[in-house]
């Protein structure tokens, strides 16, 4: 996965953010997202994660279900 840097900006640190951001990225254009939308984004990712995990479990279930029984060792 590629890293994603998050900035939380309020009136308290806005000036500092603009200065730091411009120094690091060389431009002062950025994509902003509201707290509510960030929460929705998090919940959407949680849904995706749940879906992936459940699909994996279903695959494991079918793999085990169709797996032939192991033969008993004969003495």
């Amino acid at each position: 996965m590629n890293d994603v840097k998050i900035y939380v900006v309020s009136k308290e640190n806005y000036d500092e953010f603009v200065k730091d951001f411009e120094a690091k990225n060389g431009a002062d254009a950025y994509i902003a997202i509201s707290i509510k939308d960030y929460e929705n984004l998090s919940l959407n990712f949680a849904e995706l994660r749940r879906y992936i995990e459940q699909q994996k479990q279903i695959i494991v279930y079918y793999e085990n279900a169709v797996k032939p029984e192991e033969e008993q060792p004969s003495d």
Partner: protein, 141 residues
């Protein structure tokens, strides 16, 4: 006259003996058929019992697998439930206004953990994994 009667008696005895012989032969043939049928029935019964036992053990095994699957599917919802509880518990807007630096670090840590978790759950579970796979920092920051 007596000799005729004697001959007749002998013929009757011989006919009776022949009839008895044929009757016994028929009985023996029927017995052989019955024995063969019993053997076939025993084989069929053994096969049926074997099938029944297999069906029972398969039914039990699939029942256990279903229980395991239900448990696993429920566990997969844990992350979302915890996230919803956390978001309901805290007023992020208020916290972000008051302590942006603290919230930024926590969001960054949670996001990094999410990427790691996603990478982990989408990694192949069997076979040899590529050694050059992993997190590559392509961020421009």
């Amino acid at each position: 006259m007596f000799s005729s009667i004697r001959i007749a008696l002998i013929l009757v005895v011989l006919a009776g003996a022949g009839g008895a012989f044929m009757y016994v032969k028929n009985l023996q043939a029927n017995l052989e058929t019955a024995r063969a049928n019993v053997a076939k029935m025993e084989v069929a019964l053994a096969t049926s019992e074997e099938s029944l036992a297999l069906e029972r053990s398969e039914s039990k095994r699939l029942g256990e697998l279903n229980t395991q699957l239900s448990s696993d599917l429920q566990r997969a919802e844990q992350y979302g439930d915890e996230l919803r509880a956390t978001l309901n518990k805290h007023n992020l807007t208020h916290l972000a206004n008051k302590k942006p630096g603290l919230i930024q670090q926590r969001m960054q840590d949670a996001t990094n953990k999410l990427w790691d978790d996603l990478e982990s759950i989408t990694a192949p579970t069997t076979g040899v994994q590529s050694t050059d796979s992993g997190t590559a920092d392509t961020s421009s920051n």
